[in-house]
Subunit: 417 residues, 2 copies
Amino acid sequence: MWHCQGVRVAALNVANPGAARQGSLREHNLGLVLRHVATAERPPSRAGLAAATGLTRATVSALVDDLIGGALLAEVGPTPRSGAGRPALGLILADQGPAAVGLEINVDYLAVCVVDLTGMVRYRSVQPADLRPLPPQVVLARLAGLAAAACGEAERQGLTVAGAALAVPGLVTPQGVVRLAPNLGWRDVDVAAGLARPIGFRSPLVVDNEANLAAIGELHAASPGSDNFVYVSGEIGIGAGIVLDGVLFRGARGFSGELGHVTVAPDGPECRCGARGCLERYAGQEAILAAAGLAAQGLPHGRAVAELADLAAEGDLATRGALTAAGTALGVALAGVVNLLDVDTVVLGGSYAPLAAWLRPAIEREINRRVLTAAWSPVTVRPARLGPDAAMLGAAGTVVRAILDRPAGWLAALQNQ
Amino acid sequence: MWHCQGVRVAALNVANPGAARQGSLREHNLGLVLRHVATAERPPSRAGLAAATGLTRATVSALVDDLIGGALLAEVGPTPRSGAGRPALGLILADQGPAAVGLEINVDYLAVCVVDLTGMVRYRSVQPADLRPLPPQVVLARLAGLAAAACGEAERQGLTVAGAALAVPGLVTPQGVVRLAPNLGWRDVDVAAGLARPIGFRSPLVVDNEANLAAIGELHAASPGSDNFVYVSGEIGIGAGIVLDGVLFRGARGFSGELGHVTVAPDGPECRCGARGCLERYAGQEAILAAAGLAAQGLPHGRAVAELADLAAEGDLATRGALTAAGTALGVALAGVVNLLDVDTVVLGGSYAPLAAWLRPAIEREINRRVLTAAWSPVTVRPARLGPDAAMLGAAGTVVRAILDRPAGWLAALQNQ
DNA sequence: CGAATTTGTTTATCCGTTGGATTATTTGGA
DNA sequence: TCCAAATAATCCAACGGATAAACAAATTCG
């Protein structure tokens, strides 16, 4: 038999450096069963899981017992079925087990949420405030207060906080240090350390870029199967979260996704980064507002985008023109991304989401013109499914996903505690 | 304890969809041991492998026995060591076991090689010919002849051909169909099927883009650890092979790496792809030759690059200027790639390799100017280690790597045969 | 009401890794 | 020269986890 590129490795592939011991089997299969329950559209039975995974009914039963014992799964009453045979007990993700805290620092608000295993948002709190004048320590202290309140509320609802993740609008190192957050005026702030003291719970904290986490939020919200996309986060700056084969790509050193500083025109206007012709100068929020004639009005951050959308909907020519110009620049940059990575979807998020209707034609025009393979593999451009909460929800999503991916870690933590 | 992004999954991660059975353990650990031998710089002993992998000496012995039985490993005489104790038997990759056939179709030659597990090139044959006027069937038939000769030679040397891979200068689908190879004039040629008939051996055939396979060749040739890079293949067109975390990224639909059609200037000259301002119009071979004043001479493909290098070395101003201009355009496009993917290395391959000395300054200048994170994470620009054989060697390398990654597949094939 | 059917559990067995004991082969010191 | 120490590799009983087949439970259909 002749095969081609798709020679997929059957199991336990190269990515895993360590030795596979007996327990690794269990670890893998626990995750396998749990993820099958998570992605099934109706509560599956143990027998159904056995058929779907290829494991034996006996093995699945043993695994499910462990997962129920660890408050990751729950049984629901027998579902009415057609045909003969003993009725099956449905299995669902537990809504009384571990929960994730999602945090977000943005230019004009702090936000926190609690999400359970099923993806349900169990608590949500947003505190608007202009954070730019405040020193990082003060901001982190406030955030810690919000996080503590969220943890308290989670416990009150019978949930156990398994971890937290924080979205920041800037460059974040893998160690959780904010190297640069221009819109906050932050530089080299050790957020992970700064938050570790105030909050007490000993669980992993992930700190990551806002666009990256919003992309993960979108990945969760989207129908399963669409797992190659670029999430474009249009705010004051322009970030991109790149999801390849269902996994967020963070770059060799954690600094991927700087779409805003991709060159659109080599000799274009100077950007505050020092280069010339960066996308941000054409499609950043300030550029769009200026082109639409709204720059001078000094609208508050959140209001400006709504104003643009209103004017565009009313047919205001200057606004429409500004959005077409921005869309064209975005399209040029995104065509490069698609040429390079062959993603099949571009998701317009952040402040681009409400403006998508007017940005999309220009973006699609440039992509279709400039992507070599556009004829064979069409590219979908669509607005984000999640609203402004995307990054916070994605942050919580990373924690949820970590548990779903490796339930053994959670079960072990339960034991030791 | 607080952790940050680097929450690595210990073993058997999500990428593997299937159920992990007992045999999966063996499969994983066989690969683990084999790869440790492959990457060690001196022949390791069984005990050393046990210490390095975390497995028991007993387990390692059993695994090594299997690998030796399958002609993947061999023992070497006891190495002189200092200190007391029974001397260890060194283990090395077998050079009498499986071998890989690497194939390449290019504009002006066909090439074939045989590479053994250790990476040694055991046979190499290049047949120069202008292939553009020939119909694909004829080219494939010739290639099949070369491949048959290579297989015969491999067998004569005591090797067993385990598989073959073919590099093609064009867009290749995951099924092995060449969708478009502009420089060959091919369109929708089912290469995998066309080669399956003439060659008889039943082993996997991978067909892939020339830049992708050259990137794999470079990955093999480079010192281990440098596994995030973009390999830029400068030929008539410009392709890119993207290696992320040591794995070639092929894109959602197999069409990644079209660097040549990334936009450098949105209103630049028209490209044959229909768009405007593609990189190819600035840094493609034809553009460089034209700028250097060599276009009219109609030099043969291979000679033109050497001529450029000679002139540049002599200090010819027109040539130097042409290369600087090309390097600037390349730098603009590559800065975008680095902004997006945060790779730490750019490898100049194909005809860019001999010209790297004159291209590099301009490329580095643009990257340093335009990459936002250049200050924190410097980018290395270097010529390829492999010469013009890179793609062919990389093709063979994919087959070798497939065996190294999953020796169980090879062992099973031996059994069934 | 019993046969058929499907679910979930129990039990004996197999497979691969583990840990300790054993054997093999060297160096170094008495 | 010979014996103790040290290191390498193998042997073997035990264990953990998956499997297959038998069994028990709960339902539908004739």
